[in-house]
Amino acid sequence: MEVNSEAIRQTDNGQSVGNERDAQKDKYMTFRSGNEYFGLKIQYVSEIIPFQAITAIPETEDYIKGLINLRGKIIPVIDICLRFKQEPFEYNDRTCIVVINVQSTVVGLIIENIAEVVEIQEENILPPPSIGRSDRVQNKYVYGIGKVGDSVKLLLDPDKLLNDEDLSLADQANEMNIDEE
């Protein structure tokens, strides 16, 4: 976890000159899930914590693992792997939970392997491929591809991650409720 704390410290010590926002602007937190590397804008990340006991909630989607107690606050956690409909992985001591805050919705993401914080300039970001492999669920959530050295990271849009697919499910659920009542 030292890498992570370093990463976090890095962002804190960002450029002292200029806006704090700007210092965080091009920084992405990267992690591995399945066979790909993903990147998430650092301004959405509020903290990274080691894996802890999760209380399951019945009758929710498979990727919603349940709730955790974060210093008194109860937040839901989702498994990124399952969200992307990949093969689930065994939780071990390298697994961590990244707490993100998207428009005041706080959610924890269970991530197999955290990598590092990198800076990706705008010119190194390309739009995602629009054709081919549309069956891959990730494409909905990936808004760009960032080049870092020799590798690429798939840049995620947290909004879509949290809201997109769920919306249609919610409507269905509501309709069902009304019918039942």
Partner: protein, 711 residues
């Protein structure tokens, strides 16, 4: 950005104060909507309110608000001064509310950071026209007795002194031969009016009462004057004539002025020897004596034969606007932090008190227990106080509904009374925000659909006035808010017919088989309405759907009861979230659950032979002669590793709202005070779960909602 001086802080205060003023204004206006006209106090108060709003809006440079409040102020100034006889009261009420609405809208824009760009022109024009109308109306209906002079304009300016105002006591002695001294006195008064900000004289009735002339000759004519002029100017105005023998003018203080004439007991002894200070000192002593005597006339009391709408006359100063407690406005986020911390405290407390370290056998913990008991007591008190801080009475919300009933009933031409019961019930601030819209829909429905027109009511033989009642009460950890109307009720047949048309009915099920409850639930479906036409207020079939959705997000429920021809009752049942409740903790599989203690009637450990299995999989159990449906929690929620055999687990009998169910769980952990926290909104609502909480050991337990399970 130009160097605009920072009005941030002032803006907040401005918005806050004016919001309060407008609310009070609205309340007052609605209170008197059924009267024939506004009583004197109200006119003054409305005038003062508009004056204040005008002033502060002027400072903040909101010109349109200033203009419109100035206009309304003019109207009320006229009302106050001339007191015209025939004022179309309801129209006036509407105008006031219109102005209030305009200003509120503008303030909303300001609050959201937009410019206040509303155009008050049309309203101002209306007010102008209105003012003209009533001015003309006075001319025609002048009932005041004919006079040498024109209709006496009795001044009546609120005792609000400006810095430049001064106060004088004027004492005029007429020569004893003067005939009709009262008329002469009136001449003086009339002259003073030009400069007077406020004026009071004794004897008062110098116009029609002939005997006042005698009084004046005997005791002299006393005037209390508030003006910005000098003594010389006063003397000039009074003039000199053969009739006036002596004029004494001396300046006094505002307090004395306000006290009115305290010459009563004192013979009008004009002390020319002592200095002004001494005179004032003496007067002060008197005023202290008289201060308690509230029946003294004071400027503000005097004047105008008002048409009392049956209300006892009160001095405007006396009027208490309810119990005005001292308030502090606190940032809501601080309150939230406080709430979180108290929740933490409860948990930490139980961690300490149930600590395994204490479970050493043979340890004498009597002192510790005593201290722990004390701590528990204090922490419970602390919880209660903090909970109550976020609670606000429903009064404001209900007042808003009052306004809606008034508006809609006016537009539809129905006479509707509005009643509030239990408006002082306190509810968490969140809840108030969330039920404001649904309640509005329900009230509108009641007025639009429920209450019949006056004609219809007469025809159906209803003699009582149409009434809409809003009531609130807390019961069983929930707050029940009902909208009751004595209108025509829901038409069961019509609803079923519409449902059939929309294909919502089950095949093979007779109309008569549907319970009332089921039939009424149809109206909550989106797009469902038995209205043939859409009116301005309702009929689209959207309102009830919105109500149900909103209520469900806060975990509440809507109940509809109705009797054809008699009326409808819509009840919102909303749980008091963020409560700390007594709960029973239980385990099923690897998960912990909690349920409110009040719901659990019994727990029994059962044997297999008490179970009844239906062929379709349902299970029932006989306990002491009663048969209950059984719900296996582990199975229902698909939990892992739960106990299968009923003999290994525990049965809990829940009873809520008359229905009972038996829940099968693995084991009971114990009873604990828990902090109810809502399940994070990210997670969609799960049937049977109403929240979550943290247990003493930090683990999370899910809170069961018995109503959801019973269904």
């Amino acid at each position: 950005m130009a160097e605009e001086f920072n009005t941030e802080g002032m803006l907040d205060i401005y918005l806050f104060e004016n919001e309060q003023l407008l609310e009070q204004l609205q309340e007052m206006v609605l209170e008197q909507k059924d009267a024939e006209c506004f009583d004197q106090d109200s006119i003054n108060e409305i005038f003062r309110t508009m004056h204040t709003i005008k002033g502060s809006s002027g400072i903040m440079m909101f010109d349109n608000i200033t203009a419109i409040s100035h206009k309304l102020e003019d109207v009320f100034f006229y009302l106050r001064e001339s007191h015209p006889e025939h004022v179309p009261h309801l129209k006036l009420v509407e105008h006031v509310l219109e102005v209030a609405d305009f200003i509120t809208e503008e303030m909303d824009k300001i609050r959201n950071g937009n410019t206040a760009d509303g155009n008050p022109e049309s309203i101002i024009k209306e007010l102008d026209a209105f003012l003209e109308a009533i001015k003309k109306g006075v001319g025609e209906d002048a009932l005041m007795p004919e006079n040498v002079h024109e209709e006496p304009k009795q001044f009546y300016i609120a005792p609000v002194a400006t810095d430049a105002s001064r106060f004088y006591k004027v004492y005029i002695t007429f020569s004893p031969e003067t005939v009709m001294a009262n008329v002469h006195a009136y001449k003086v008064v009339y002259a003073m009016k030009e400069i007077a900000e406020d004026l009071l004289y004794s004897p008062e009735d110098i116009i029609s009462d002939e005997s006042s002339g005698e009084t004046i000759l005997k005791e002299g004519f006393k005037i209390l004057l508030q003006a910005q002029c000098t003594e010389t100017e006063i003397r000039d105005l009074i003039g000199v004539g053969y009739d006036i023998e002596k004029v004494d003018v001396y300046e006094c203080k505002a307090e004395e002025f306000l006290l009115g004439f305290d010459f009563g007991n004192q013979p009008p002894h004009i002390d020319l020897e002592s200095s002004v200070e001494a005179i004032e000192a003496k007067a002060e002593k008197n005023s202290e004596k008289k201060a308690a005597d509230k029946t003294q006339m004071a400027p503000g009391d005097f004047v105008i034969q008002t048409k009392e709408p049956g209300r006892p006359k009160k001095l405007a100063k006396d009027k208490q606007k309810g119990a005005k407690d001292a308030f502090i406005s606190v940032n809501v986020s601080k309150m939230d932090q406080l709430m979180d911390l108290i929740g933490e405290l409860v948990i930490a407390e139980s961690v300490v008190l149930q600590n395994p370290d204490l479970k050493v056998p043979g340890l004498n913990l009597s002192n510790f227990n005593k201290a722990a008991g004390q701590m528990s007591k204090i922490s419970t008190d602390l919880q209660n106080v903090i909970m109550s801080m976020r609670m606000m009475p429903l009064t404001n919300l209900f007042q808003k509904m009052n306004r809606i009933v008034f508006d809609v009933s006016r537009k539809l031409g129905k006479d509707i009374d509005f009643e509030m019961i239990g408006e002082h019930t306190e509810v968490d601030k969140n809840i108030i925000e969330n039920i404001s819209d649904p309640l509005m829909h329900l009230v509108r429905n009641a007025v639009d659909h429920g209450i019949e027109t006056n004609q219809e009511r007469k025809e159906s033989g209803k003699t009582d006035r149409a009434k809409v009642t809003l009531s609130a009460k807390t019961e069983a950890g929930k707050v029940w808010i009902s909208v009751v109307d004595n209108g025509k009720g829901l038409d069961r047949a019509k609803i079923l017919a519409k449902a059939r048309k929309q294909g919502l009915l089950e095949d093979g099920r007779l109309d008569s088989e549907y319970t009332d409850k089921e039939v009424f639930k149809f109206i909550t479906l989106p797009g469902f309405s038995t209205n043939e036409q859409v009116t301005e207020y309702s009929g689209r079939g959207v309102g009830m759907d919105v109500v149900v959705q909103n209520i469900q997000t806060i975990g509440g429920a809507l109940e509809i009861e109705s009797e054809a021809g008699l009326g409808t009752t819509m009840t919102l049942k909303i749980p008091l979230t963020l409560a700390i409740i007594d709960g029973i903790v239980m385990e099923a599989g690897t998960s912990s659950f909690v349920v409110e203690t009040g719901v659990v009637k019994q727990f029994v450990s059962v044997r297999e032979n008490m179970m009844i299995h239906e062929p379709n999989g349902d299970e029932y159990i006989m306990i002491r002669g009663e048969c209950y449906p059984v719900l296996r929690l582990g199975e229902w929620y698909g939990l892992k590793d739960y106990r299968k055999s009923v003999e290994d687990g525990m049965m809990l009998i829940f009873e809520v709202e008359g229905k009972a169910i038996c829940l099968f769980v693995d084991k009971l952990i114990g009873e604990q005070e828990i902090v109810v926290k809502p399940i994070p909104s990210y997670i969609k609502k799960v049937k049977g779960l109403s929240g979550c909480t943290q247990l003493g050991d930090g683990s999370i337990a899910l809170i069961l909602d018995p109503v959801g399970l019973i269904e």
